[in-house]
Subunit: 327 residues, 2 copies
Amino acid sequence: MTTQYGLIAIGNAIVDILAQTTEEFITSQAAFGMNRGAMSLIDEKRAAELYNLMGPTTEMSGGSAGNTMAAYASFGGKGAYIGKVANDQFGKVFAHDTRAIGVHFDTPPLMDGPATAQCLILVTPDAQRTMNTFLGASTRLKSEDINEDLIANSQITYLEGYLFDDDQAKAAFIKAAELVKKHGRKLSLTLSDPFCVVRHRDDFLKLVENYVDILFANEEEIKELTQISDADEAHRSIAQHCDISIVTKGKDGSSVIRGTETAHIQAITPEQLVDTTGAGDAYAAGFLFGLTENKPLTECGRLGSLAASEAISHMGPRPITPLKSMI
Amino acid sequence: MTTQYGLIAIGNAIVDILAQTTEEFITSQAAFGMNRGAMSLIDEKRAAELYNLMGPTTEMSGGSAGNTMAAYASFGGKGAYIGKVANDQFGKVFAHDTRAIGVHFDTPPLMDGPATAQCLILVTPDAQRTMNTFLGASTRLKSEDINEDLIANSQITYLEGYLFDDDQAKAAFIKAAELVKKHGRKLSLTLSDPFCVVRHRDDFLKLVENYVDILFANEEEIKELTQISDADEAHRSIAQHCDISIVTKGKDGSSVIRGTETAHIQAITPEQLVDTTGAGDAYAAGFLFGLTENKPLTECGRLGSLAASEAISHMGPRPITPLKSMI
């Protein structure tokens, strides 16, 4: 049966607030729970305090799954997005930027409650990003926001692990997984972040065993999930539960397992490395675009590497150069 | 007498919303008053319509005089800013970005009324920017917002011509000019935009004759102001009314006249030309930084060219590379 969309993503709808910073600043914030190179959840008060300490910023739409949809659309893919913003200026920015790239987005904004989610991203001179997220309105995603028609009409539904950080959003997440099964579509999950895996290991394992067809993780995340200290061994162990599982390895490329088939994909080094924000999100977009276009695994991986390479060559997570033109 | 600040700028406090676009799109909008390469004023309704037509955007603090202060601070200069934002997310972004670079900013936000000013900036493949400004809260700058202490404590007060687009802001503008005279400081003006000069020619001429010590203009603006068709002749004609007058000429550099002294300054070509937004604002910052550091005219001009070169090498008007490190 043909579908209207190749990919629908469900995630935390976030506006990124990016600033360059120093190593010293990151170190000075460790006592407040900041994790260099990872994502930490912060509350509204801490967000205001941290923002005051940051240098001049640039604002742009982000969110892991939102970034993936932006890259998927940039390849020419047809997609949709489900996520919760507030009825404020940042919420309007997020909605605009999603629709402006041709992604269907009609989740109603939250009319009363916290502001649109913000991710304060600090980029160090080595291009590494350290993220600090105030989830705000994004956690108010409800089961009612999961539109069955959209899921039924999408080849693949893609979920970000970060959604598990809130019970209400988690319920919406499970509903989506059930609907995917009901309509015979494919479910894809990204583990999002090693600390996110630590927070939700058992739930993630159940999800992988019962629902997930296509799993994305990096080496740290797959080791955390399986509690196996060798990443390749961890990958082989989890691969038996999914149609396709992908482990990304930064500059060492990525590994893909489908049944007895294993592929190693090389990374593509960009001309300049500026900001690694969104590399994993972009990789997933390229890989999934390849899948929805019925490409072989190695080509799916190459498209993933291509999108990741573009993402890290500039500030911000979403593509600047149309990815379609780079294929 | 020593002063606390080298430079204080008064301008429209604006958040920029930037998107890349095509030549065709700019042409298609001419019927709605869009002026390629220039700034058009738009109302809130038109701003919403145009925003809907734009591709994915990046938000960052802007405003002509605000950009000049950002570059001045990036050179290591000590400065202050006066301008009106609303009590909304974009207003908080503008205030944060101003203070985060060490610029003093304490103009109270507008509590009731229109949103923070927005400039919808369309960048074409030739790196030219076409600006569409909804002035919003910025026009609510009042005479009471002009802090006499700040002006008395600044070597140079810098005004953007764009302020003349609103009667209330214009009154604040005149008050600032009077205070500069009262305290024996220097007044600098940028004509901002040829269309702005057309709108306010007589007022600008009176201001130049009676108040302005340091005038910035480009070739189009100086020709419009003087109604003389040769830019060099126009420059000589206006130079008799100011201590220093500067005419910028894009890739042909700039000309400076002080009394009988004339200097021609070369432009500095950036490695890559990405977006010309803020080139004039940055030039003024470099020139004024040189002046407040008592540098000779040619060095002031060189610093202007340096700042302009940095500004046009990336998206957005404000410096990314610290200008201090480039001197």
